[in-house]
Symmetry: C2
Subunit: 330 residues, 2 copies
DNA sequence: TTTTAGCACTTTTCTATTGACAGTGCTAAA
DNA sequence: TTTAGCACTGTCAATAGAAAAGTGCTAAAA
């Protein structure tokens, strides 16, 4: 569809704009494409007709349109090799055995946000196929205990449990034993219903202060459904970009970053590294989102980078790819 | 030092400015202080001489200076009663027994940031007087275990431990027993040194694969020193204030919010609710910080609100006071 | 047929000017 | 001690003009 020269021109326009953040003029290009500015203007008119570039006003230079970036990303851009130093930094994190996987992902994305000056997001959720492997209850005061739940995939969660004063230690122990026996092997998202329909009848039958005790443990254990947790780093990086030179734009984006629903929507199901440019993402027309899904040992989620539309797509892609590989490996 | 009328005038100027964010003119006041604008101007000149108010340009109305706010806070402002509805909302959080204290504090400060439209910060650190109460190790794969440490105050931390393949289960158990026995009762910040000087010799003596095993557990347990954790809510609230109508100012403040060192510096040692106005805080001249220290059951830290200098000091103070009381009560 | 030089045209950006407005400081009288 | 009155000053918004940057188009050159 595009001639070789047109493609070259588009590449020059995109890359020039990414660098300078200023509309690209025909004159600026002419030196690099050994022909006159008039010729460039003709070709530019063609590219504009195709919808790949735009003017900011009638006599301005050109900037890439969303479609132009899309064509660049799909057909022109060549995958970037990762800088060795950066690679090492990231690798070290994943080879640190003391780190839980989710911490390693968070930390590595933190570094990526520093490396790129974009905003990094880790949207994790302990997958619902985590099953309870063990329950441990430790008393810390007369009427207070702390209940720890460990899943088969190595997740740990803890809750406070307040025991009514009138129940005996024996009853508490009895209750814990019953719960423990019935709940091991249950997936996290089914804990609440198992408690209600399987544990409660047993407790009601065998434990004296069944009502108070059941309630105490139910309120502690009922919210184990996998909750998505959001980790953002370098939130402000994006706002430092010269295209966000307007108070309104900055506030607008800050509001969106603050809105958990919008951020949660970044969730990606596709296994590859996907790029959503401007209007293609449903966050903001001025930004691009590059993201991918990950899954490993019951830990699943999305890692994403948010940058200006003129982001270095090749670098961002290389980084996400690398991290995804490392998650898979560990 | 100030006459009654001057004090009244200052109060009017401060409160008017807090409301309107616009320099206050003599005319605007004259109706409320039954005298002519000329008289007000004379009194304003006096207040300006004392350094309590300022002009933004030679013929502008007046705005309070840092010193003016200070005088207002110290001598004029009357403590505000908390709104009953807000009080209820906050009380519910603290009476929810399933919540760990630190979660309750975080949640309540989140609400405070919504209530005030300021930025709330919880600077917590599991106090160093937390002592290890129990160690639990759960295997989750052939060469992977998860170690859970519970402190006497109810804190829970967990770490991955990778076991070298060539060691036997018996040896692992032996090692865990040794560590467990020697480390219970040790304060978190001394764990590393106890491991090195008391545990290591014993392991070296009795366990065959002592080097590999010691290293595995040491790398998991060596970083239990109380790490300050920072929780911010409503970061953007402050940036929405009309006084931050400038890209430079917003970026500047965002950068400061991003800088952990600066945020950590908010730490307050004083037990009362303290107010730091403009230049009195070392974050930014355009903002005020109101904060207080809290301590309860080995959990200590600082809760703070950051707002524009024209914040509603009475309301902010009332809220922080209320939360501090509730922390103490629980 | 493709490329290029040249020129008219458009928009942006900057600077200067103007007039209306808001508010002060000072003086002199109440 | 208070106040009316007025000159003075800075802000703000609108307007105008000139320079700069860049395009589109036409007609000639390759």
């Amino acid at each position: 569809m595009l001639t070789g020269r047109q493609e070259k021109l588009l590449k020059l326009i995109v890359e020039n704009y990414i660098k300078t953040v200023k509309p690209v003029s025909s004159k600026a290009i002419s030196s690099k494409l050994k022909c006159s500015s008039a010729t460039i203007r003709n070709e530019m008119a063609a590219l504009e007709n195709f919808g790949f570039i735009e003017k900011t006003h009638i006599s301005s230079g050109r900037i890439p349109s969303d479609l132009g970036y899309r064509y660049y990303v799909d057909n022109i851009m060549v995958p970037r090799e990762l800088n060795g130093e950066d690679m090492l930094k990231l690798k070290q994190i994943f080879s640190n055995n003391a780190l839980v996987l989710s911490d390693a992902i968070n930390k590595s994305m933190e570094i990526v946000s520093e490396l790129t000056n974009y905003t990094a997001i880790v949207l994790g959720s302990s997958s619902s196929d985590n099953k309870i492997a063990k329950i441990e209850v430790v008393p810390i005061a007369d009427n207070k205990m702390i209940a720890i739940v460990i899943t088969d995939k190595g997740h740990v969660e803890n809750r406070n449990v307040s025991i009514p004063l009138n129940v005996s230690k024996a009853e508490v122990k009895q209750t814990i034993d019953i719960i423990s026996k019935l709940i091991v092997g249950v997936p996290l998202n089914e804990v609440a219903s198992v408690l209600e329909f399987e544990v409660k009848p047993v407790i009601d039958k065998y434990v004296k202060e069944h009502e108070a005790l059941y309630n105490a443990f139910y309120s502690a254990f009922s919210d184990f459904a996998p909750k998505p947790n959001i980790k953002m780093s370098g939130t402000t990086n994006l706002l430092m970009s010269p295209e966000f030179d307007d108070v309104g734009k900055i506030r607008n984006l800050l509001n969106k970053f603050d809105d958990k629903d919008i951020i949660r929507n970044i969730k990606e199901d596709s296994d590859g590294v996907k790029i959503y440019i401007g209007s293609e993402n449903n966050i903001d027309d001025d930004i691009s989102v590059i993201k991918t899904y990950f899954y490993k040992d019951g830990e699943e989620g999305t890692i994403a980078l948010i940058g200006p539309k003129r982001m270095e797509y090749d670098k961002a892609e290389a980084l996400l790819n690398f991290i995804k590989e490392n998650i898979g490996k560990e």
